[in-house]
């Protein structure tokens, strides 16, 4: 019999439903896996084994009494350590909040729990989801970064320590670590998942995201997480369809390739991989055209930087004044620089964001998907940096839903990925097309890693 930790999230649900495995079997298998790999990967900040096993036993009893809480009943998940978890430490990867225990759950965590999921533990993040790295290592090669800021979520899913995890993205913090670690990362449309109870970095750019081993599992989690939340004024009232049932049309997709910027800035091996993926997709029936990006694309990275610095500085202002010595160098620098940005420039950056969002919606009217390499290179060597967000920033800035899929291995045997962007609030189609692409690309890296 397959070790339970090896199953995908969907397979775990099926096997629990058929009583082939129990929530306790699953919990014990994942803990065993964590015991084996955690010393060398360091994906976790907090795991309360006692509470976790107790919750698994409770879920098992509920099953025997015929009580199923929801579609994730008995499924353990990782949660990035910036999401509030009632009664469990939420440190934000920072000494400033080293002993902070929230009294309530973030909306995202609450929705997962209401669907029956169990919080396995809190996953490592860079300091306050910025750039000062967590100690986490890439499961594919421990000398390389797993990416960040959602470092532990990506590494944990890739290493088989949990079947799915929550993360967040302001620049590239879901798409990049997912790509570096060879898993699926979904950053839905801005406003699709509530950020209430999530430590903010930049209010206008922060997204909650999902890590899984395949697209289907990401759709399952989005089903539970998506939707309006009166506690988060940026969440949308757009209807939430059943993402599992969403189907792609029988014709192949019209894919726009964002070539000029990405080709110029990607390593040769990355662009070769992207071209090979496009070749396969074309052979399977996709139509592929180059996309002309709007004029504002040229200033996206500068405007993003200004927004992120100003908003990051605004959030941290009082905490930083109280505890300047507890901040690490990269975040300290961001706060200091962000505090110097004039309001007029902040608002101009914001107006550029608005223009870019609208222009990208017009671009998306013509295409089913926009495709580009997820990162400029495979995961860089060393742990002092988590790589750069250059390739993912346009999708955070536009707020468009974007998913990264594993697309092969580099010469150094590290994962590569392609990212697909869809129309705003049309995650159903994006996920359906992503499943189609996943099938055509035929690369599932999680099964290789052991």
């Amino acid at each position: 019999m397959t070790e339970p930790y090896r199953l995908t999230l969907t397979e775990m649900i099926r096997q629990i439903g058929r009583k082939k495995i129990s929530p306790v079997d699953l919990a014990e298998s994942l803990l065993k896996r964590i015991d084996l790999l955690e010393p060398s990967i360091q994906a976790w900040v907090t795991i309360d084994r006692g509470k976790f096993l107790e919750e698994a036993r409770r879920k098992e009893k509920e099953i025997s009494r015929g009580r199923i809480r929801g579609p994730l009943h008995g499924i353990p998940l990782g949660v990035k350590d910036i999401f509030y978890t009632a009664g469990m430490k939420t440190t934000g990867g920072s000494k400033v909040l080293a002993d902070f225990i929230p009294s309530f759950d973030s909306t995202a965590v609450l929705r997962l729990k209401q669907a029956g999921a169990i919080v396995l533990g809190k996953t490592a993040t860079t300091e306050f989801a910025h750039a000062d790295p967590a100690p986490t290592r890439n499961p594919w090669n421990r000398e390389h970064t797993p990416g960040g800021s959602s470092s532990g979520s990506a590494a944990g899913v890739a290493a088989g320590m949990c079947p799915g995890a929550l993360g967040s993205q302001t620049g590239g913090s879901v798409l990049r670590p997912a790509s570096y670690c060879g898993v699926v990362g979904l950053k839905p449309t801005y406003g699709r998942i509530s950020r209430y109870g999530v430590l903010p970095f930049s209010w206008s750019l922060d997204h909650v995201g999902i890590f899984t081993r395949n697209v289907w599992d990401a759709a399952l989690l989005l089903n539970v997480l998506a939707g309006y939340d009166p506690l988060d004024p940026t969440t949308s009232r757009e209807p939430v369809p059943d993402y599992i049932r969403a189907r792609a049309p029988s014709r192949g997709p019209l894919i726009g390739v964002v070539e000029e910027f990405y080709r110029k800035n990607a390593e040769d091996q990355v662009w070769e991989n992207t071209s090979a993926v496009l070749g396969r997709l074309k052979k399977a029936g996709a139509r592929v055209e180059k996309v002309k990006m709007p004029e504002s694309f040229a200033v996206v990275h500068d405007a993003h930087r200004v927004l992120m610095r100003a908003e990051g500085a605004a959030f941290h202002q009082s905490l930083f004044q109280k505890h300047p010595d507890l901040y690490r160098p990269k975040l300290r620098e961001l706060i200091e620089l962000g505090s110097l940005i004039p309001a007029v420039d902040y608002l101009s950056a914001y107006r550029i964001k608005r223009e870019f969002c609208r222009s990208m919606e017009r671009v998306m009217e013509r295409f089913d998907l926009l495709l580009s390499p997820s990162t400029s290179s495979p995961a860089p060597k060393g742990l002092e940096s988590t790589g750069d967000a250059w390739f993912q920033v346009p999708w955070s800035f536009s707020g468009l839903p974007t998913i990264t899929l594993p697309s092969g291995l580099s010469k150094g045997k590290l994962p590569l990925g392609v990212q697909l962007a869809g129309k705003p609030f049309d995650e159903g189609k994006l996920l359906a097309w992503a499943r189609w692409c996943e099938k055509v690309i035929e690369v599932s890296l999680s099964s290789i890693l052991d």
């Binding site: 949308s236 504002s296 500068d302 200004v306 200091e336 110097l340 914001y350 550029i352 608005r354």
Partner: protein
């Protein structure tokens, strides 16, 4: 003497502000990042925005 560029003006203002707020030594340490910020602010200032374009949190 040629007029300073927008980026140069930005750099001067930011460097002065950093020195006042954080001290000369810290401002020196931040110099490379201040230069990068000055460049980004000049790029934003030069971008031709339509008069009707408003900022908005919602998509």
């Amino acid at each position: 003497m040629p007029a300073p560029t927008k980026e140069e003006i930005r750099l001067r203002i930011l460097s002065d502000a950093a020195a006042k707020k954080y001290g000369e030594e810290r401002a020196q340490a931040l110099d490379a990042s201040i230069r990068d910020l000055a460049r980004a602010l000049a790029v934003i200032e030069n971008y031709p925005l339509e008069m009707e374009e408003e900022p908005s949190f919602a998509r």
